[in-house]
């Protein structure tokens, strides 16, 4: 066994392995210990190591996507808005004391139709990014979004949301002004809409902050975007008690577009230009525009379709359980 080679594996995963290796090294030192018994142990260990290597390869792959999803050079919501809509007009504020710039809302024209738009805004350049909390929204941001949802509902506009956030902003001020309730009510509001809602995950889909704006009749996810209940770093530090296990967590969480399509949580993967959206933003935007046009056209022609009930049924059927089903009392 080449003990050196497996040192490249992640330490959390290695603990167990190394224990076995040392056990075998010890065994080797016992006089007369040899033969079939020893070879079996070696074989088992080899298998185990091979399995760990596979996990590690997968983890590296998932992590690469996590990195891509966060790449500053990827097109962001303002790029999509500018590239997709004619005459976009943006609206500001929650009408109650705050304009959260981490969320853009407004109306645009796509293919002749008025479309309501909401999207996370990470900001470009460090100054803007700080001002926009790197796309992490305050409760007031979701209340601003609720205003355009209400307009979409009353005027019959399709609602398109672009998701790109590390998650809701975890700050004292955010908590004090009701972060939890703001997210919940945003979800509630999206379930109340009679108009079609279309969500495009374009980068980071971070937890409740992403979900708050992502209740879609149709959910598209860019190949290298992610969508997760918690950041891999956060998950690693809680479950592995070691934030350097983020790569392993990124694999375990199943947060890539391929994983999510398999799980039935998204409806479509939008493949990115070679190497990722950051390599050809213009082309990426055109591709998204084309898919959006198609789905909006399709939905516009579904005259009697109950988008609200469709959304409720879709989300209420998500979950895998065992044991008793509903017995009536």
């Amino acid at each position: 066994m080449e003990v050196e080679k497996i040192k490249n594996l992640h330490k959390s995963f290695l603990k167990d392995t190394l224990k076995s290796v040392f056990k075998i090294e010890k065994l080797k030192r016992i006089t007369g210990f040899s033969g079939v018994h020893f070879n079996d142990a070696e074989k088992k260990l080899a298998e185990k190591i091979e399995n760990y290597r596979k996990v590690e390869r997968e983890a590296i792959k998932s992590w690469r996507i996590v990195e891509l999803s966060r790449d500053e050079k990827r097109p962001h919501t303002p790029d999509y808005i500018n590239g997709i809509f004619d005459d976009f007009i943006s609206f500001s504020g929650d009408r109650q004391g705050y304009d959260d710039k981490s969320i853009i809302t407004g109306l645009g024209i796509l293919d002749g139709s008025t479309v309501a738009v909401i999207g996370h805004n990470k900001g470009s350049g460090i100054k803007e990014r700080i001002e926009y909390n790197f796309g992490s929204s305050m409760p007031q941001g979701y209340r601003k979004a609720a205003r355009i949802m209400d307009i979409a509902q009353r005027f019959g506009f399709c609602l398109v949301t672009f998701i790109d956030t590390p998650g809701a902003y975890p700050a004292l001020e955010a908590e004090d002004s009701g972060q939890a309730g703001a997210i919940a009510r945003s979800i509630y509001e999206m379930f109340s809409l009679d108009v079609p809602t279309i969500t495009v995950l374009i980068g980071e889909g971070g937890s409740g902050g992403a979900l708050a704006l992502a209740i879609g009749n149709f959910i598209m996810m860019l190949e290298n975007s992610t969508y997760s209940v918690i950041s891999p770093e956060g998950c690693a530090s809680i479950l592995w008690r070691d934030s350097s296990a983020a790569k392993l967590a990124s694999r375990a969480l199943k947060l890539t577009s391929r994983d999510l399509l398999k799980l039935g949580v998204i409806d479509k993967i939008i493949y990115e230009p070679m190497g990722g959206a950051q390599n050809n933003p213009g082309r990426m935007i055109k591709i998204v525009k084309s898919y959006l046009k198609n789905i909006i056209k399709k939905y516009s022609n579904l005259k009697d379709f109950d988008f609200k009930t469709h959304r409720a049924q879709k989300y209420e059927s998500i979950g895998i359980t065992a044991g008793s089903v509903q017995q009536k009392l």
């Binding site: 809701a168 919940a184 979800i187 209740i215 918690i230 969480l253 199943k254 065992a322």
Partner: protein, 263 residues
């Protein structure tokens, strides 16, 4: 006689006094956690509780393994808590008024919400709608169950959708926050209730104090996310002591279901 040490003030309490006082510290008034069945016992009219979906349990569908496989964690939680999941669902009478009821149990994997919690809340909400009953949920949760990945995040949407249907049927839904309630549960069904009641001292927030401190790089106030601060911040309707909870719930249920003279 066994001694209990209060988690808040650190003083000794005899087990008898502790249990006799509904697990509220006799010195500082700290409301310690109750198991789901303890809660039901002190809340529901005696013998009125019937359970729904008792045997439903979690599945390790992602083959999730951190330091320990999820499947093992589920097994351990069932052994430790004596219940099959982090929420006990059913129907009960309180002061003579029937209601659907869900009670979360922090002992079961920190009251985390996965598919089973989501599904049981759906079943209970549907039971309410079918029988025209108000709904009560006692919350206690560390958030979404990471071991179910994105599916646990989706339970936030699922439960909110169920509550929305229930509310649109004109049914009342009260949420009772117990210590601690954070993360995905706070940001879903807990905060879309008609009335939010909290036990004194209960932590109720989205991001926990440690996460916030890491982000803003400074200490949060000592009362961060606690009931009293939340009341001042208008995030909850009232703080109700454990000893008064049954009475208050009884009155609220009466008021919300009493339509005799209303137009």
């Amino acid at each position: 006689m066994e001694k209990i040490i209060c988690k808040k003030c650190g003083k000794n309490i005899s087990e008898e006094d502790f249990i006799g006082n509904l697990k509220v510290c006799v010195h500082c008034g700290f409301h310690d956690m109750l198991s789901a069945h303890e809660r039901i016992k002190i809340t529901a009219d005696p013998g009125s509780f019937t359970e729904l979906a008792k045997d439903m349990h979690s599945v390790d569908f992602l083959k999730f393994q951190d330091l320990k496989p999820y499947s093992e964690r589920i097994e351990e939680a069932i052994q430790k808590s004596g219940i099959n999941e982090a929420v006990v669902a059913g129907e009960a009478a309180i002061k003579g008024i029937m209601a659907s009821i869900c009670v979360m149990d922090f002992n079961f994997m920190g009251g985390s919400m996965g598919s089973v919690v989501g599904e049981k809340i759906k079943i209970t909400a549907d039971n309410s709608i079918e029988k025209n009953l108000p709904l009560l949920i006692f919350c206690a949760s560390g958030g979404a169950r990471m071991q179910e990945g994105i599916i646990s995040l989706m339970q936030m949407a699922k439960t909110v959708s169920c509550i929305k249907r229930l509310k649109q049927e004109g049914l009342a839904y009260f949420c009772i926050i117990t210590h601690p309630t954070t993360g995905g549960v706070s940001a879903s069904f807990a905060t879309v209730a008609d009335i939010i009641i909290t036990e004194p001292g209960a932590l109720f927030c989205f991001a926990g104090p440690r996460v916030v401190e890491q982000t803003i790089k400074k200490e949060v106030p000592a009362d961060f996310g606690l009931a009293e601060r939340n009341l001042k911040n208008g995030l909850v309707d009232m703080i109700v002591k454990r000893h008064d909870m049954r009475d208050v719930l009884g009155k609220l249920l009466f008021m919300f279901t009493n339509k005799n003279l209303n137009p």
